[in-house]
Symmetry: C2
Subunit: 475 residues, 2 copies
């Protein structure tokens, strides 16, 4: 997987290296080890190391980096925790990786207004650790311990989005350095505003192609007074999914409602040493007042029973809940562990909730028809689910079959009014589907915005937008 | 108020008129009456009639209009219900107004996925009437019976935003015709997506300057099982506002929490024939399960009591609730009615919730210092409140004093980390504050986006973005 990426790349100009070394000292490096470390993420794409890596400590330093890169035409790849799944941080055209790990401070906690100001390198677990004792928490929880800058850049979500929204609904404002080197501040501290174009949302999900995020103002939520969690096994996938659909349609404010299929339960039991019943299963969490939580749980139990669900297995103690959700968060690694030496190709479709049963059961049949190993797991309250297709990285034929399966799953989702990516982003992995999902006119509008804000194509070039003529239409 | 607006304008080319007449027949008109009707909104700005008005019936017809306007360099002003408050629909550079009132169909109700597809001329009351019996509703309720296209264009909200979000959180996708005449479809039917730039949110709040919205996919919400509403009087403004702050900080999911000051209560009593106690007052509404609603009401009553609030006066029957909220929605007209022949200059600041008491009491003092008549009313759960400054439209000195007061109020809000407009938008009325709120770099980024998507400056020219050199900095 270390073959050089086929796209054109130029070596770094010596004068650029000299200027960056003078400014950043040892925080700028061309060492092979550091470059190699920054050349791969959690995706299955070939490694693509940058020509150099720099570790800024402030917005002003990011401006200095962008100014130098603009002067010398050097591509810029932003890097958070390196946990992206679609090749976002691969330096496919070389250039410099801007690693935000030293910009990892929580700058201010405004408990009275329920927001926090953080640097982009702060990770979600770090943030919640620093919020300990404040009565507030940050609910967005992608599988990995991602950085907040990376989560904003990829429009991430996680298991709590069904109640608390995705990162998109939880960012009040950003500071970002644009390609011209200027830092802009978008949004504000107020809960809403109608003052001009929504640059905050334009940057969220732009994957570093429009600007480098250097500060985030992030909404927090009061810790719920009461929490309860349970798992429930179902006779088949459709029964589990129909329970989800009815729960959402009734407006029950569940905090989490996660699907795992039988294969995933087997993976979890093996990896996390749990003893869950090996059947399609829903993981629930309820937040609210004690009475509210009881009421929600009561309603959902009735719905589950109607669909043949077995009794709820409650995790009442906080440590049991933590164990349950840790097992859920480790599903990716548990899945990979099913087949030693494999890599995972993760799919990420999201469909309207009413199409979820049709989509999930169709995808399960698609997988079974290929003979590939691919557990299904999902944030089904949003209509979003993943398969992790386990492939032998040395088996080109198998990778090809896995990619064909991925394509088949996306086709299915798009035909049902869904999206090719619910929360992982486009990177290089989903570009082929952008035309089918958005149409040429909308894609051209995105290209116009990109060209306006980054005329030299310096910021994470080659990501999100397929070249105008090379986009592969779906059949 | 009928003085021509000073900006340059050219007459419509005869060939353009001929082409449009041939295509649209009587749905294209240059009649003075129709033009005049489209030349004013609910703001206090001088009327500015377009040179012609056209009433399209489809996205394809909007494309034809934009193509003709681009060929002849004719400015395009979109028009919904004409209820905007900042001069958004004034044809300050002449050109053609595109009136969407004939595109007023609810195209599809997807109850199982809780969204609806509508044309832009559908009004919020019409939509809720058509949803009757579906068990679902559309919560966003600006004061006027605005069109959904207009609400999206101005990023509107209303009294329910504290629980259900603003229009920004309630639009899944849009169809819009860009300046190049092409229709784009943004977003989708799924609840979330990470697939590329967020063109949906770029268009929301763009006030017709980036594209003409021709279709909207809008989220709906289940009608709450139980609803209760109450009013509560307080000894002073600060006590009322502090009740709000504590309610929000505790995370009580109130559906509505609205502030009216004493003067507003007097206006309501006079206009709506109510007998409310003439003191600062909060209007509450609680949505949820019967037990949930009781629990919320209990908590809020305790908070109110701690701040000296009198007993809750409950409106338990649906007709009493409707009367209460109709009175609240008529506050603008009730206020205008306090002074026959006057016009209202409406302010619209929004601040972080912890600064709300400081801001509201400061603004009340600012008003009192001027001697002007200006009731205060607000969606205080969001930190957003309005004053309606009642001015004699023939008294230039008074208008000047009112504008100075508006400026003072905005300065106060910006100094507290707030915004110049929480929900009304910029139009021509708030442009002078854009530099102070966003800074030159962010404003330039907005200008780059505008130029990229509308290089000829055809779409609602002269709105939102102040000219680069003419922006007046705040002191």
């Amino acid at each position: 997987m270390n073959a050089p990426h086929p796209e054109a790349r130029l070596p770094l100009p010596p004068a650029f290296i000299e200027q960056m070394s003078a400014r950043f000292g040892t925080r700028f490096t061309t060492s092979e080890g550091v470059r190699a470390h920054h050349g791969h993420d959690e995706s299955h794409f070939p490694d693509a190391a940058p020509d150099a890596v720099v570790f800024p400590s402030s917005t002003e330093e990011v401006t200095a980096i962008v100014d130098a890169c603009r002067a010398y035409g050097v591509p810029i790849v932003p890097y958070g925790a390196g946990s992206s799944l679609e090749g976002h941080i691969l330096a496919i055209r070389g250039g410099i990786t801007v690693d935000f790990s030293e910009m990892n401070k929580v700058l201010a906690i405004h408990g009275e207004d329920m927001y926090v100001v953080v640097q982009p390198g702060v990770t979600r677990k770090q943030l919640n650790a620093e919020l300990h004792g404040s009565g507030l928490f940050f609910p967005i929880d992608p599988g990995a311990d991602a950085s907040l800058g990376g989560m904003a850049a990829t429009r991430a979500s996680g298991t709590n989005a069904v109640r608390y929204g995705t990162i998109r609904e939880n960012i009040l404002g950003l500071t970002a350095v644009l390609a011209d080197g200027r830092a802009i501040r978008t949004g504000g501290r107020a809960r809403k505003s109608s003052a001009g174009y929504d640059l905050t949302h334009l940057l969220i999900g732009s994957e570093g192609t429009l600007g480098l995020i250097t500060e985030l103002t992030v909404r927090l939520h009061p810790l719920p007074e009461a929490v309860s969690a349970a798992v429930c096994a179902f006779p088949d996938l459709a029964a589990a999914v129909n329970t989800v659909i009815q729960t959402i349609q009734l407006g029950v404010p569940v905090a989490r409602i996660e699907l795992v299929d039988t294969l995933t339960v087997q993976a979890i039991n093996r990896y996390s040493k749990t003893t869950l019943r090996e059947a399609p299963m829903l993981f629930f969490e309820f937040h609210g007042s004690p009475a509210g939580v009881d009421e929600q749980a009561q309603t959902v139990q009735e719905i589950a029973r109607e669909h043949g669900g077995l009794d709820f297995d409650w995790a009442s103690r906080p440590e049991d809940r933590s164990r349950l959700w840790a097992a859920r968060h480790d599903v990716y690694f548990a899945s990979i562990n099913l087949r030693p030496g494999c890599r995972g190709i993760t799919t990420d479709v999201c469909v309207p909730i009413s199409k979820l049963a049709e989509c999930v059961t169709g995808v399960r049949a698609d997988i079974d028809a290929t003979g590939l190993i691919a557990p299904i797991v999902g944030h089904v309250g949003d209509g979003n689910f993943h398969t992790v297709i386990l492939v032998d990285p040395k088996d080109a034929d198998e990778i090809e079959r896995a990619e064909a399966l991925n394509r088949r799953i996306v086709e299915r989702a798009l035909a049902l009014g869904g999206t090719c990516t619910g929360e992982h982003g486009v990177g290089i992995g989903k570009q082929d589907f952008m035309l089918a999902e958005h149409g040429e006119a909308a894609l051209d509008a995105m290209r116009l915005v990109k060209r306006a804000l980054d005329p030299q194509d310096l910021l994470n070039p080659g990501k999100i937008l397929p070249p105008p003529q090379q986009a592969t239409p779906l059949v």
